[in-house]
């Protein structure tokens, strides 16, 4: 071979190798093991006082589940379960797809929550503690050891001094209702922060009075990007409460509406300044003009955000994390799904309908670009399994009627279950 042949061969070798490697995507990412999240999921559901109206707790999962009222025996395993007017909060245990909904028509209004695992930290905003609107925290310890919590309150201007809310003990398998009005009365809505120093519990805020009745789960932890899945369409006030938990840094907040076709900055909410430790109220009714939209809240400091809708009924919906994994929900007659996608990439929500025996009876896909929408859920029985193609989709149940009772309830799904959730992790002995 001549020299030029050698060099040509060499250069060709490198060229081929380079092209080949450029075509062949490195398998580094694919090389990481993807672990499906497994194990048991446990959620707890609040219940209402049967004296003021009926309550239904329904649960469903991909495989068998059991439910039990706190302090009672568990039911036999089944694909789904439904308890009418349970006397005690209900705990459901199943696989990672387990979902449960508690609905109630207390005081002639509509309340609903998607049941959640117990928590040790909670945030609630826009909590009324006036003479005409009373709020209580329902704390249920579903574990066999006592839980100890401290509740702190924040007003418009900062922390509110209260006594008797520190180190509250909730004995094992018991419920304690903390009536906030017993501790203070405030003209403006306040924020409530719960921290468990020991144990964990189911914590639900119950509000009832002239504005209506509502159950509200804890908001997501304060963040610089918060998404509230839905501000319901219709008449009434739409109030956004922003709480800045920082003790020394002011938060500059911008609120955008995630409409069906576009997102836009809400007039009057372009730049909301929230002082350290304070709560700000932003009036959205005029700007939204009765439209149903999702809300994207961006701020310079982590804030906790909650939308409160008043009108026919009181309904609060706080910022929530994305639906990270699949979740099975029992069908709630008359309910619809509110979806919000804060990202520019379209997300597909797959809704698989199952009958009471668990057989799949229908499959629906909703593709949502940046924005939000409300999708009615058809059917009166069975269950649906929700699976999102991306981790950023926020989902909430919207319920305006239970039987003959009208009202409004907004129940966020939170992070959802973990069915089908695969997590890529890398084992690296050098970590730490």
């Amino acid at each position: 071979m001549r020299v030029k042949d050698w060099i040509c061969l060499a250069v060709a070798t490198v060229a081929v190798a380079t092209v080949a490697t450029a075509v062949l995507a490195p398998q580094g990412g694919a090389a990481q093991p993807v672990i499906p999240v497994q194990g048991q999921r446990q959620v707890a559901c609040p219940v209402g006082d049967p004296a003021f109206g009926p309550t239904t707790v329904a649960a469903a999962a991909q495989t068998e589940l059991t439910v039990w009222q706190v302090g009672s025996e568990a039911t036999a395993p089944a694909l789904s379960a439904e308890l009418e007017d349970p006397a005690q909060p209900v705990v459901a245990v199943g696989d990672q797809s387990l979902g449960a909904v508690s609905t109630s028509s207390q005081h002639g209004k509509v309340q609903a929550v998607v049941c959640r695992p117990p928590i040790s930290n909670g945030w609630w905003n826009g909590v009324w503690v006036t003479e005409s609107q009373r709020s209580s925290l329902i704390l249920t310890n579903i574990d066999s050891t006592a839980a100890v919590v401290t509740i702190s309150l924040q007003g418009e201007a900062g922390p509110l001094e209260t006594t008797g809310l520190r180190d509250l003990e909730i004995p094992r398998f018991s419920t304690r209702v903390v009536a906030l009005n017993s501790y203070l009365t405030a003209e403006e809505p306040i924020s409530v922060v719960l921290k468990a120093s020991q144990g964990r519990l189911m914590a639900t805020l119950r509000s009832q009075g002239d504005l209506g009745t509502d159950w509200q789960q804890s908001a997501a932890a304060p963040a610089v990007l918060s998404v509230i899945p839905w501000s319901p369409a219709g008449e009434g006030n739409r109030l956004l409460f922003l709480t800045n938990p920082s003790s020394d840094r002011r938060a500059e907040v911008q609120v955008e509406a995630l409409g069906l076709e576009q997102s836009y900055v809400i007039a009057g909410a372009e730049e909301v300044s929230v002082a350290p430790g304070a709560t700000a109220r932003v009036e959205l009714s005029q700007a939204l003009r009765g439209q149903g939209v999702g809300l994207r809240v961006t701020s310079t400091q982590p804030v906790s955000a909650t939308l409160v809708a008043t009108g026919p009924d009181l309904a609060g919906l706080s910022a929530q994390p994305g639906l990270g994994g699949g979740i099975v929900l029992p069908v709630v007659p008359g309910a619809s799904l509110a979806l919000a996608n804060p990202t520019p990439d379209p997300i597909t929500l797959t809704i698989a309908r199952r009958d009471a025996e668990g057989s799949e009876v229908g499959l629906e896909e909703i593709v949502l670009a940046e924005g939000s929408l409300e999708a009615p859920l058809a059917g009166d029985a069975g269950s649906i399994m929700l699976t999102a193609s991306g981790p950023d989709l926020r989902v909430a149940l919207v319920l305006s009627r239970i039987g003959q009772t009208e009202g409004l309830a907004l129940a966020p799904l939170g992070v959802g279950g973990a069915a089908g959730l695969n997590i890529a992790i890398a084992y690296r002995p050098t970590v730490g």
């Binding site: 001549r2 020299v3 050698w6 060099i7 061969l9 060499a10 250069v11 070798t13 490198v14 190798a17 380079t18 080949a20 490697t21 450029a22 062949l24 995507a25 490195p26 398998q27 580094g28 990412g29 694919a30 090389a31 990481q32 093991p33 672990i35 499906p36 999240v37 497994q38 194990g39 048991q40 999921r41 446990q42 245990v93 117990p118 928590i119 040790s120 930290n121 574990d143 468990a196 020991q198 964990r200 997501a220 932890a221 963040a223 994390p321 990270g324 994994g325 992070v415 973990a418 959730l421 997590i423 890529a424 992790i425 890398a426 084992y427 690296r428 002995p429 050098t430 970590v431 730490g432």
Partner: protein, 1036 residues
């Protein structure tokens, strides 16, 4: 009388004024003994004839030579050079011949002058000997200076001047053999000396009963002198009397010697004489000890020669020892003669003082080793280049480039300073850690434990690389010191080795070769190797020039034992390379086969090739065999679990950017390696004969790039093959090509007028120099900043302390990474071996699955009600999450059995409420008691079990209070044992399997190292090398 300058200054030198004597009147009987010395006899006779003083009588004794020595002597007699020619016997010794001559001598002269047939006296030799003898009261023996034959007008080279003998029988001379004899010696008392030219007072000779038959040759002069000293006579050297001594016997050019008659080599015979002499001069009980020392020392010397690849020398030594053991009678006879001397304590003390001290052997050994190391370093294509030359500018000046500017120490200090600055992160305490470097074990014992024992539950053998690390740690005394030392010297040492290779094997003498050597040394830095703590890349970079050098030598070293040295060298290099990257064996084998085919040296060369290629496979056979379970490891480097992601941008791989951490900024890679590409391509075009080097380099680079696209399965994990070794070799080939062209072009263009070619060489040289300087700067500024020492700062210190104190593990999750990373850490840090395979609880499939599931749940922000129960079995005391997401915090905060422990610097730690450890006592009721390493099992109830967070392994030896526990069925996945009635401390050991194989490995490795290393030529120092003298004489 006219005073010479020396005499004028004699008062200043404080020398006694020599008394005037007249030697001419002395009656001397000269005895010339001949045995097959015709080759040298004419010269000897001529010298004798030229003597300024003719002896009273000259008697020649021919011991029945088979050549024409007898005729030459008869002719000399006819010419009057000798007076009498006697005929001895073939078996007669020199002493026998002397005795025969004295018996036949006419009259009784005062002096006896002994002459060898291969030694030419200076004309004044006898005169000087007599003058000294007359001036020195009591002098019985005068020993002349022996010098080597030299070319005319060349300075005489000292051979010996008097001789003594060490306690081991080694011949000892006070002067440095080989130095120029310029009259620098003064007469000195001596124990004895060579009989060649020896002048002996007749009266003393008779009093001493002359020579003894127990020492027929070589040491007979020392024996005579020794006995003379003991008898109160004086023995002195006379440096003014010179003999040119051919040493025909020692150099094995004389035929028919006594040694040959006994079928022994001259060396073996000399050793025997030495041992006999020492033994015979030892009286009393000490003689048994001396006998043991002589025999033992001889065995050791034999072993030393064997190790020095001199089997003939070893055989001589052993034969001498055997002959000595058998020759008790001659020794006893001589000892009786010595005992009859009745030496006074003063004389005995004086004689002992003339012998070398006991430590002289060790001094000589040290000198010999040092000499030979110097010689080894200066060997190669240019035999005249030494290490000192290599480091100093003197070399350049010798070649006529430039005058010397900087001494060696400046270079050394500069390199040390740069290394210290670059490795500033290493100037701390604690183990060194980096992306691809786990902490070294605390002790050598732990390093070997890791290297020799498989982690419980795993059937594969520990990585061979771990054993190399342990061996390196042994040399450095501590594992951490080994790591620090290797990283610190990485660049200077690699550069030095590369320079050695370029100069000695490629013959590159230009300054640019220094630049290229430095550029090569910085390749591991450019590949991010030092930042990642890739020790193996450093070892590969250091070993590569040796491998190529040994391949170069393969066709040239084809004779005797030396022929096996290149093969052993290749085997050694591959023995280092295979544990680093087993796949490298394939191109190495191709290179060896190609070398053998091109060399065309026949079957023996193929046999050597089989040794070179088969040895590493055999040496690491156990590990390689175990890789059948994880064949992916054949393509990966050590600790593959630590490998990072590969570079998505393929073209950047051609610039050494593998995608792993620790790499320089992109512009540095472009500048430096871009220049290298340009230089190599130009070199390939301008130097066509070297094109295959370019092809080789490109193939290596292409293979590295291609392999980096795939992931391989290692122990249920996926790992990316690190392309660094392939890129290193590829870029090294490009550098080699560039330097070859530059050097040849510089030489060929030196005498031409300046033109385009010179400009091209100049530009490329400058570009390479600039690129190397950029690399150097990067090395100093950021090339080793990825290294840290001490415990990790990413997690709170108390976590590591808790792990050590309680024996618990910590589950650490890093959510700051794009793909969350995790580890189950024990004992405060991850150490060697944990990058090779899963260890501890993770070696169990169930433990691994539970740990992964726990991590997945933590990352997902979900939790299982059984999470803590699983973590308890894993012995996890703490969960630490680096930069956790809110969902994770919320989930863990709300998990049963967990308690938030701390939240510092973005790392949140949760403690398991029960504070479990990896050793748990489980009662019959299921109650769990966790034990720390210092806890003892106090009392046990029936059916109490001991559960370890380790997989079930029948080889595990678990004892409590010294009582070995029996394994029982596992409660879950853990190794579980019946505690029985055992109380006390819990000890867990994993025995070393197949220890015999380790010894074989060690012996095999030792032998290959021995053969690969250059010979130290101990024989040269031990007896001042008669053979080398012969070689030199032949050369002359």
């Amino acid at each position: 009388m006219e005073l010479t300058s020396l005499e004028t200054a004699s008062w200043f030198l404080d020398k006694p004024e020599p008394s005037a004597v007249d030697p001419t009147g002395q009656r001397v009987t000269a005895i010339l003994v001949s045995r097959n010395g015709a080759a040298w006899l004419p010269e000897t006779l001529a010298g004798l004839a030229a003597s300024t003083i003719r002896p009273h009588q000259i008697i020649a004794v021919d011991n029945r030579s088979e050549d024409n020595s007898a005729e030459l002597l008869q002719e000399a007699r006819r010419q009057g050079v000798v007076d009498v020619v006697l005929t001895g016997s073939t078996s007669a010794s020199f002493g026998d011949a002397v005795h025969q001559a004295l018996a036949e001598a006419a009259g009784r002269d005062d002096w006896i002058w002994l002459l060898h047939d291969d030694a030419v006296p200076d004309p004044t030799a006898l005169s000087e000997l007599l003058t000294l003898s007359l001036r020195t009261l009591g002098l019985a023996i005068a020993v002349p200076l022996s010098v080597r034959p030299t070319r005319r007008r060349h300075a005489s080279m000292t051979l010996e001047l008097g001789a003594s003998i060490s306690g081991t029988g080694r011949r000892h001379v006070d002067v440095e053999a080989g130095e120029a004899a310029q009259g620098q010696y003064d007469p000195q008392v001596s124990l004895g000396g060579s009989t060649c030219g020896m002048l002996i007072r007749r009266e003393a000779f008779e009093a001493l009963h002359g020579f003894h038959s127990a020492i027929p040759s070589y040491r007979d002069g020392v024996d005579l002198g020794w006995r003379a000293n003991l008898s109160g006579y004086r023995v002195m050297t006379c440096p003014e009397a010179r003999f040119v001594h051919h040493q025909a016997g020692r150099s094995e050019r004389r035929v028919g010697t006594i040694a040959q008659g006994r079928r022994r080599s001259e060396v073996a015979w000399d050793r025997l004489m030495g041992m006999r002499l020492v033994a015979a001069h030892t009286v009393g009980l000490a003689r048994f000890l001396v006998w043991l020392r002589l025999v033992g020392g001889s065995l050791l010397r034999g072993l030393g020669f064997l190790l020095d690849k001199a089997p003939d020398q070893a055989l001589d030594e052993l034969r001498a020892m055997v002959d000595f053991v058998r020759s008790r009678r001659p020794v006893a006879r001589l000892r009786r003669r010595v005992e009859r001397i009745e030496a006074s304590p003063t004389d005995r003390q004086r004689a002992n003082a003339l012998r070398p001290p006991w430590w002289s052997t060790f001094v000589l050994l040290g000198e010999t080793v040092a000499d030979n190391i110097r010689q080894a370093l200066s060997s190669g294509r240019d035999e005249q280049i030494s290490l000192g030359d290599l480091l100093g500018d003197e070399y350049e000046s010798r070649l006529g480039d430039r005058p010397a500017r900087l001494p060696i120490w400046v270079w050394v200090a500069g390199a040390a300073a740069l290394s210290l600055i670059a490795g500033r992160r290493l100037l701390a305490s604690g183990p060194v850690r980096a992306h691809q470097l786990l902490a070294a074990p605390d002790s050598l014992g732990q390093a070997y434990e890791v290297a020799l024992t498989s982690p419980p539950g795993l059937s594969g053998r520990p990585s061979a690389w771990l054993l190399l690390e342990a061996l390196g740690s042994t040399l450095a005394l501590r594992p951490t010191w080994f790591v620090v030392a290797l990283l610190m010297v990485a660049v200077p040492l690699t550069g030095l080795v590369a320079a050695w290779y370029l100069r000695h094997h490629l013959g590159q003498h230009r300054r640019i070769s220094w630049v290229i050597a430095l550029a090569y040394a910085l390749l591991p830095v450019l590949l991010g190797g030092l930042n990642r703590g890739a020790l193996w890349l450093v070892v590969l970079a250091i070993g590569l020039p040796f491998f190529v050098a040994w391949l170069h030598r393969w066709p040239t070293q084809t004779e005797g034992v030396r022929a096996w040295q290149p093969a052993a060298g290749v085997a050694l290099a591959l023995a280092l390379a295979v544990p680093i990257l087993p796949l490298l064996w394939v191109p190495a084998a191709a290179a060896v086969v190609l070398t053998v085919v091109r060399g065309g040296q026949g079957a023996w060369s193929w046999a050597r090739a089989v040794l070179a290629l088969g040895f590493p496979l055999l040496l690491w056979a156990d590990w390689l065999m175990s890789l059948r379970l994880t064949p992916g490891r054949l393509m990966t480097t050590p600790a593959p679990l630590l490998n990072g992601a590969t570079n998505d941008v393929a073209w950047q791989m051609l610039l050494g950017r593998t995608g792993s951490t620790g790499q320089p900024p992109l512009w540095i890679s472009i500048v430096v390696l871009g220049v290298l590409w340009v230089a190599a391509l130009i070199a390939a075009l301008r130097l066509p004969s070297r094109s295959p080097v370019l092809v080789t380099g490109l193939v290596f680079i292409a293979v590295g790039v291609a392999l980096s696209r795939f992931s391989v399965r290692i122990d249920t994990s996926e790992a990316m093959p690190d392309p660094s070794p392939w890129l290193l070799i590829g870029f090294a080939a490009l550098l080699s090509l560039a330097v070859s062209w530059l050097s040849e072009a510089s030489t060929s263009l030196a005498r031409r007028d300046f033109g385009v070619a010179q400009a091209l060489v100049g530009v490329v040289s400058m570009l390479l120099t600039g690129a190397t300087l950029v690399s150097l700067a990067w090395w100093v500024v950021g090339g080793m900043t990825g290294l840290t020492r001490g415990d990790s700062a990413a997690t709170p210190l108390y976590l590591a302390q808790n792990e050590r104190a309680t024996g618990a593990s910590s589950l650490i999750v890093d959510q700051a990474q794009p793909t969350p990373a995790w580890a189950l850490r024990s004992d405060g840090r991850a150490t060697w071996g944990q990058g090779e395979t899963r260890t501890g609880a993770l070696a169990s499939p169930t433990g691994w699955e539970w740990a992964q599931q726990a991590v997945a749940q933590i990352v997902a922000g979900r939790y299982d009600e059984d999470l803590t129960a699983h973590l308890v079995t894993l012995g996890v005391g703490y969960i630490a999450v680096i930069e956790p997401l809110p969902d994770t915090v919320a989930a863990l905060d709300a998990s049963v059995g967990l308690r938030r422990s701390s939240n510092e610097d973005g790392t949140v730690v949760w403690a398991l409420v029960d504070l479990p450890t990896r050793t748990q006592v489980i009662g019959s009721d299921g109650a769990v008691l966790s034990l720390t390493p210092s806890d003892e099992v106090a009392t046990t109830a029936p059916e109490t079990r001991l559960a370890l967070s380790l997989p079930v392994d029948p080889d595990l030896r678990v004892t409590v209070g010294g009582v070995r526990l029996e394994p029982v069925e596992s409660v879950d996945w853990r190794a579980t044992y019946d505690l029985g009635q055992a109380v006390g401390l819990v000890e867990v050991r994993q025995p070393v399997p197949d220890q015999w194989w380790r010894w074989i490995q060690l012996a095999g490795g030792f032998l290959v190292v021995l053969f690969a290393l250059p010979s130290l030529h101990f024989r040269a120092g031990a007896d001042r090398s008669p053979r080398r003298a012969h070689d030199l004489e032949e050369a002359l």
